[in-house]
Symmetry: C2
Subunit: 324 residues, 2 copies
């Protein structure tokens, strides 16, 4: 089973597979019409695979090794076995790229079309925003220092016994360390901060040494990224007011890909847009290429995170483009 | 930068790296004490790398190829370049496994310790629950049929203009196709269902042909998975009532890994527990091994999804263990 970042990627991948199959059948039919010698090995049929690996080999091999241990071979039951040889003879387009017969048509394989997570992305794979906006929910370690004023440049908020980053100041040590709005702080200098108040964590950061402040951080638990494709008029298909998604356009990419209302726009191609004016966000989106990845968060969580935050603070928010 | 599924994985990985470094330094010091010939190539120092790849090669190579295009070599500015040769001579523990010098200590490399997404998991990597519970938010295609009663065995709920699976009946076609509680339905037979009501989608499914019903599905947008480790007494460290997480135990794995209250438990190691009694969920958790991956959803979304659902329906909920 293939996974895709957007519905458009899925449709393109499916069309590619069908095309490869049709070309194969046409070539076979023409070869039979020309009455080629039957001894010619059928595995060397030229065919046109789509210009990206059809099945990510990582995800395919891992479950198989587990299943092979659990179940006996299919051959014993039905006299049919999907070995590499049988697949090569009958459906070469399903072979991993490296194992395809050497006589096949040479097609450039774009490494970027299969994402690190095994997601197949024939059209959005080359978009840097897809990688920049990816929400992994995984844990990483971040090392902070203090700036000349003795500040790390971040503020946190306590939600549901967790501590969340609600402000990263531009050009601050926190911004340079790659902290983002919505990141969950798990530990400060090895001390677990679960159920701590905002004030207590701010106090811990204040009392930290000027260098080597270690944070354990979980990547944005309340957020997720949605990849959209512009239509021929350059629209991705949703309306927003004060950063909140209020309506979807019928038959747009936003509707197809399941963007939801009552969510706040936090990032465009991984770039933080919290605190930006709506027209600045629109300008950012129109400057993007054909593929736009937006990161969203339910509005009720967003409102909680921004509650009581002075607008004088919001205007210092970091809006830089994250490193890949 | 390495990513980890749990804080425990991060600590073990960091300890492994420090150990490898210390062993290297000790070996170098002893070699200098023995006054080895200076011509011996320093790259062949034996050392003890941790038994898993230190840096997932996928994530390391992909950004580099982009950066090499953008920036000139570091050598021109500072006379220092992190080429493979210099890394091999000075810090062999940072080399990709395949490129380590042949004279190094042979250590088994567990493929399972680096997850498909490039996440490093020295202790939870071998847990099948980590893979089963993984929430990708990606899009996949699902083909359904109807059972003998003409039913596909699922119910949906409309939330924020999206359509979500709120019931998968056990042994139904929907369960066998791998649909899960919380999956978002994007299309039914190619028709986008954004902003459709629950009744309209149920009607579309009813009027579908008995075979080949195509759904485009986004993997559980409101959910996320948290991987926890049992302590010596077998506890992972949270209390729950009616499936809702109500409190965290201080200094437990749940607190360390940032589990949140006001969230509902939906899956344990990928197995659906919605509608199960608390004591049955506790029994499931205690039957798990050392590593437990729980899938959670904010309570306000959960309550909306379960609103007006008859308890006579809930008891038909699918609780099977998903395929890997």
């Amino acid at each position: 089973m293939s996974l895709y970042p957007s519905l458009e990627d899925m449709k393109v991948d499916q069309m590619g597979k069908v095309q490869a199959q049709m070309v194969n059948e046409a070539i076979r039919a023409s070869q039979q019409a020309q009455a080629l010698p039957a001894s010619a090995p059928p595995t060397h049929d030229p065919y046109a695979p789509p210009p990206y690996p059809l099945h990510p080999p990582q995800t395919q091999t891992q479950p198989k090794s587990g299943l092979e241990l659990l179940y006996p071979a299919l051959d014993e039951y039905m006299g049919l076995e999907f070995t590499q040889d049988i697949i090569a003879a009958n459906m070469p387009e399903y072979l991993p790229v490296a194992q395809r017969p050497p006589g096949t048509m040479g097609v450039a394989v774009g490494a970027s079309s299969v994402m690190p997570s095994g997601v197949v992305a024939p059209i959005s794979g080359s978009s840097p925003g897809l990688l920049r906006g990816q929400v992994t929910n995984a844990i990483r370690e971040v090392t902070l220092c203090k700036d000349g004023d003795g500040k790390v440049g971040m503020r946190v908020k306590a939600i549901n016994k967790g501590v969340f980053v609600c402000l990263v100041k531009k050009n601050s040590p926190a911004a340079m360390a790659g902290l983002r709005f919505g990141d969950q702080v798990l530990q400060v200098n090895g001390q677990t901060v679960a159920s701590y108040s905002m004030e207590k964590v701010h106090d811990m950061l204040r009392k930290s040494p000027p260098n080597g402040i270690q944070l354990a951080v979980r990547d944005r638990p309340f957020e997720r990224a949605v990849t959209l494709h512009k239509d021929s008029t350059g629209h991705i298909g949703f309306q927003f007011r004060d950063g909140e998604i209020t309506a979807l356009v019928k038959d747009s990419s936003a509707a197809r890909n399941g963007l939801l209302t009552d969510h706040h726009l936090l990032e465009v191609n991984g770039q933080n847009v919290v605190g930006l004016k709506d027209k600045d966000i629109s300008a950012l989106i129109s400057e993007c290429g054909q593929v736009v990845t937006v990161t969203v968060m339910p509005t009720f969580v967003y409102k909680h995170m921004m509650k009581h935050m002075a607008s004088s603070l919001v205007k210092f928010m970091d809006h830089s483009i994250p490193d890949l």
